[in-house]
């Protein structure tokens, strides 16, 4: 394994840990679906950056920031049409993103892939993960009260709108980190599925957070190991390429099915 491969592996595992924690709060806030569509908005940014020869992650970051502000503004308005607006805007983002992304880069932009990482990119990634973890640790109490009741949180002196904005920004940062290896279509699943697994197998907040983070890390580790040893599978005459993004999410889905069955039985 080269140093650059080690950087990419470590960052992917730490991103999975952060995604599990962020996903737990997103699930309690009932914003799993809204969060999933946020990830789609990265695509036009990725596509335009590729088109103009800029670092695609910078394009994605700009698009995600704009998308975050838009979804926050819609949430703040609290109108009945918010869901509709989110649905329209973010599916439009997916369509426009697909149109502007050069066709040779489209599959990777949508579904990700394992890429080596330089030291500066690795350090920026670590910094972003630290920001996410510190935010979750220091703001967990405000988040909990806001999730339980925005009205009680406001009466306790919490600026609910600010808590919502910061959480969305942390959510988008997690999306940005996962985008590199999971792609715009699948990165949302790394935030949603591990939290769904965690909730199936636990009943208290601390065990929920731990189980979700662990499920995220195991899914990514499983995906990395499988695609490393079996980059492709040949069944009779058909050869299937095992891409990293779909493999990670398949492992996560399998874990979810086990957790679901365990709860039922």
């Amino acid at each position: 394994m080269t140093t650059q491969e080690i950087y990419a592996t470590v960052l992917a595992l730490l991103t999975a840990l952060a995604a599990g924690l962020v996903g737990s709060f997103a699930q309690m806030k009932r914003m799993s679906l809204a969060g999933d569509v946020i990830s789609h908005v990265a695509l036009p940014g990725l596509g335009l950056a590729l088109l103009f020869g800029i670092n695609p992650l910078i394009g994605a970051a700009v698009a995600l920031s704009l998308g975050t502000l838009l979804i926050w503004h819609l949430q703040k308005g609290g109108t009945l049409t918010t869901d509709v607006a989110i649905g329209v805007i973010f599916t439009a983002a997916l369509a426009i993103g697909t149109l502007v992304t050069p066709s040779e880069d489209l599959i990777e932009a949508l579904f990700g892939g394992f890429q080596n990482l330089t030291l500066p990119a690795f350090l920026v990634g670590i910094l972003l993960i630290l920001v996410i973890l510190i935010y979750i640790y220091t703001s967990r109490h405000k988040l909990i009260l806001r999730i339980f009741s925005p009205e009680l949180a406001a009466a306790t002196g919490i600026n609910v709108s600010r808590v919502d904005l910061y959480f969305l920004l942390v959510f988008s940062t997690t999306v940005l980190l996962g985008l590199r290896f999971l792609g715009a279509l699948l990165v949302g699943a790394l935030i949603i599925v591990p939290a769904a697994i965690g909730r199936q197998v636990t009943n208290t907040l601390s065990s929920f957070l731990t189980a979700s983070a662990l499920a995220g890390v195991v899914s990514v580790a499983g995906g990395l190991v499988i695609t490393h040893y079996y980059p492709s599978l040949t069944i009779q005459t058909v050869t299937i390429n095992l891409a990293l993004g779909p493999t990670v999410i398949s492992v996560a889905t399998l874990l979810f099915m086990f957790s679901f069955l365990r709860k039922k039985i």
């Binding site: 309690m28 909990i144 339980f148 009466a155 002196g157 009943n203």
Partner: protein, 239 residues
């Protein structure tokens, strides 16, 4: 929660309060006062602006006019009908600890506060969605007591529980008010409770229809004016 104000004799002085939401006037020109230890009940038909009044007093709704809280006021708030998500992995212990951290008070008397409202250690560690209606409501009252408030704002605290449980909650609130010397503003539909426990009543129907002690202020004319056709029910409760 502490809100700045200029009056010091009363805990609360409200002058010419009006609340308009989406161009609809909900409360018009309302004035009243709340002294320390006073128990004020707010009565009125549905849509009279009772919940909005509490929200305005908490600065959660836009208003015009004056709301002056005493500088040393600490408010505990019990909201109306809070529906807990049954799948939420949160217990009252988590929520009480979260409030303690948010308002910077020590979290070591969470068990004692729980006990004062009749919540056992086991109930404090049960996910809120799995508690019964009465237990859930007791938890909300305990949540309001964190931070040693000197005034409670309660918005129909028995709205989501059945009748025998309702009586227990009213008794609990009255006992806590006496025990901690709390003033309170409670929105209630239950006239029998108002007659038994309130020291002052405010009848609201956009404007103030009556204010004073329940025995004097709640004349048959006022009740008829307030509730119209459903007055007979309230008169019966009173009798």
């Amino acid at each position: 929660m502490s809100l700045n104000g200029s009056e010091s004799v009363n805990l609360l002085t409200v002058k010419n309060l009006s609340v308009q939401i989406e161009r609809k006037l909900i409360i018009e020109n309302l004035s009243f006062e709340l002294a320390a230890g006073e128990k004020l009940s707010v009565l009125g038909p549905n849509g009279a602006g009772k919940t909005i009044l509490l929200r305005a007093l908490l600065r959660l709704a836009p208003y015009s006019g004056e709301i002056n809280w005493a500088p040393d006021v600490r408010i505990g708030y019990v909201p109306q009908k809070l529906e807990a998500d049954r799948h939420l992995a949160l217990t009252y212990r988590d929520l009480f600890a979260a409030k303690c951290k948010t308002i910077n008070v020590p979290a070591n008397d969470i068990a004692r506060i729980g006990e004062s409202v009749g919540l056992t250690k086991e109930m404090l560690e049960t996910p809120v969605g799995h508690l019964s209606g009465g237990q859930f409501q007791r938890g909300l009252i305990a949540f309001a007591l964190i931070g040693q408030p000197n005034v409670l704002l309660l918005d129909e605290p028995t709205a989501s529980i059945d009748e025998p449980g309702e009586e227990h909650i009213y008794e609990l609130i009255s006992r806590l008010e006496d025990q901690f010397g709390l003033a309170s503003i409670m929105v209630s539909h239950d006239l029998s409770f108002v007659y038994r426990y309130a020291t002052k009543v405010l009848c609201l129907n956009k404007r103030s229809v009556c204010i004073g002690s329940p025995q004097v202020a709640l004349s048959p004319e006022v009740l008829k004016n307030l509730y119209g056709e459903s007055y007979a029910y309230y008169e019966h409760t009173h009798a």
